[in-house]
Subunit: 418 residues, 2 copies
């Protein structure tokens, strides 16, 4: 079989399996996820052995220690995958929910019922735990899933997928509902992205390069986010203690993630008071500031920001800082440079809080809270399958519900159209 | 300016205008649509004159009478466009609706607020009334719109767009919120489909060729439906009077539209009674039947169906008919050949009705009603911008709400993440 035929067959098998998975009762799906969790823990030693092969290859290829660490499976991480599956098992099942039902003048009743999307393709890099996490979320929401992990984790991914598939089969469910593309040939990704007949949604997870490749080559709808350039705006009359606490948390608590703050905007009317203060405290925490002229005047430790600093996703202890003349200027700056991820205003002014809330149309808009809350778990959606900064289908952190769609259902008693 | 620069500028202008449109109060948007409606009627004579140029060119080019008729504007059709705008003005505004708000253990409140998508591109063929209809729906939902109509209607479309833009400007709203691609150069479509930086959604409306071209060449998300192959399944114990009434309505009332029935499935247990009866009555109404062997045995007037008849969208007085052994066989047939548009069961059996409802995951599933109801207006969504048979974002008939998305909103009082 050619690679093309293989991938098409795999996608078709997933589509066929998805029709069965769409009908599986919640209790059965929950039991499946629990069995999968137990099987991962029980097979821990074998998993660690397969993972060691990936680690050895990674070292030969000269992967960085950070990359090797992301790749590593140990007992704790295997337990973490299992816990994740148990958590998803406990989440409410979105499938079958009827969201609204109304009667039309002719007596037909029209409603909308939540159904699985069908087949979801996940294309991801390095971390092998995504194999179990994504499978759990897709299966719980009644979908089939096609997984394509990074070549550096191929042995780990194959071992995890084999364990999970065995549990599907043991419960009499179609093994085709969980497919791993087990070749490391890159052409397989391109082929996968052509299977619009069988796959309903592609979610790429990884670096910007992977995501651009997927979205430029896919005929299947893609939900993605390229990067998070999160802004915090400290308004003229902000509580400066609160502003300091929020800024420290948003920048320093975990700088390498997409909901960390990358740009701080400060209203001119509080700049004299706030810029030196935040520069001092962030400086002490090892943060490098890149500021506008006014920022550099008020905080001499800051280096002058270049145009490319506005819009930069540092993912590091670096912060762009700009003093702005007004709320309008802050909104304009954000609209110009935002990645549509998360924006925060710190203010005591009610009208300003409401204007910011309405006029900023990023996927998450916050008043007086740290951007680090922008996360499916923190929002109470349960486990997160990803985050979307494209507006179609989902916008912001995505949970189980985002892996479903709604069909219309109509109850009649013989009505015909006049 | 090159064509590429022109299209990019137009898309960027629409994006800039969309930020203003997103904030326009409902009353102002409603007034705008009413002014537009009145302006169309007041400019009727000029519109008819411009339309005459398109009709003349169409005749020169040898367009069919059906095409010429679709292209024609007269007083009644101009009044129809105006009525459509008035209707949309009266629909509730989805923008700003908060769909759920909940408190997290740390005290932050998380909710979701409906916002416009931003910029919507509509690519359509021949009927010039789409220019006004689509503009009305996009503007009412707080979006900017980029319109690209067919070259055969270019003078009509330019005239309509100019009238509508004038009303935007007269109310102090940005004229960039309504853009018509006024060149007939086909390369403009390809350029438009590259503006993913500025356009949030593309809706193609027209023949399957247009829709395939758009979806294969777009980097922007596309919502579409290729065709409607709607099935009606007459179950073993259906009320045959009801079944007859529904089948006649679904096939004959307006055969040229996507929600007309194209395939009729009949349970073997009622085939002896129903096949000759429905063949007689549909035959008398001029419907040609293409049947399976059993259908042809029971209704000698039917011609044998070929494999391509299952899955055919005739849009004509032709019907594929198949006798099936069971509900399962009906469901399997539909899953195999469905276009995911609309499927109907006629039955008196409660468990069968529920199985059909759950197991068929087309965008509309009906019990005991004509597929001709599958329509945004009939469902009570108000005017329809289109129908989606892709599952992402919207599935089924689409109204104003489908031109919006939801952002997360968070109210805190200084919370930071532990």
């Amino acid at each position: 079989m050619t690679l093309q035929d293989q991938i098409q067959q795999l996608a078709k098998d997933a589509r066929d399996a998805s029709r069965i998975m769409a009908q599986v009762p919640t209790t059965v799906k929950n039991h499946l996820l629990q069995q999968m969790a137990d099987a991962l823990v029980a097979s821990g030693a074998a998993l660690i052995e397969e993972n060691a092969r990936d680690l050895a290859t990674g070292r030969e290829k000269g992967l960085s220690e950070a990359m090797i660490d992301r790749l590593r499976l140990d007992e704790g991480r295997i337990r973490g995958m299992a816990d994740g599956l148990h958590e998803v098992a406990e989440l409410p099942d979105p499938v079958g929910e009827v969201t609204g039902m109304w009667r039309r003048p002719n007596g037909i009743q029209v409603g909308r019922m939540r159904i699985p999307l069908g087949v979801i393709g996940i294309i991801y890099e390095s971390r092998p735990n995504v194999t179990a996490d994504a499978a759990g979320l897709c299966l719980k929401s009644g979908n089939a899933v096609v997984l394509r992990g990074g070549s550096e984790a191929i042995h780990s991914n194959r071992a995890i997928a084999a364990i999970l598939k065995k549990e599907l089969a043991a419960m009499g469910l179609p093994a085709g509902a969980l497919q791993l593309v087990s070749t490391t040939d890159r052409a397989a990704v391109t082929e996968l992205l052509k299977q619009e007949q069988f796959i309903d949604l592609i979610i790429p997870r990884g670096g910007e390069g992977l995501i651009r490749f997927v979205s430029e080559n896919s005929r299947i709808p893609v939900i993605k986010h390229y990067k998070g350039v999160c802004h915090t705006f400290v308004d003229a009359d902000a509580d400066l203690d609160m502003a300091e606490k929020i800024c420290i948390n948003a920048k320093v608590q975990r700088p390498g993630v997409c909901n960390a703050m990358e740009t701080l905007l400060i209203h001119r009317d509080c700049a004299e008071a706030f810029v030196p203060r935040i520069a001092r405290v962030l400086g002490a925490l090892g943060v490098e500031l890149r500021g506008c002229a006014e920022t550099c005047r008020l905080a001499p430790a800051a280096t002058p920001a270049q145009e490319e600093d506005w819009g930069a996703e540092y993912l590091d202890l670096i912060l762009a800082v700009r003093v702005v003349d007004s709320l309008d200027a802050a909104i304009s700056h954000i609209q110009e440079y935002s990645s549509l991820h998360t924006e925060v205003i710190v203010t005591r002014d009610y009208p300003n809080s409401q204007r910011f809330l309405r006029e900023i149309n990023s996927s998450v808009v916050m008043i007086n809270a740290s951007s680090r809350f922008s996360d499916g778990n923190q929002f109470g959606l349960g486990a997160e399958i990803g985050i979307s900064t494209t507006k179609l289908h989902s916008f912001g952190p995505m949970g189980l519900e985002d892996l479903t769609t709604r069909k219309f259902i109509v109850f009649g008693d013989g009505q015909v159209r006049e």
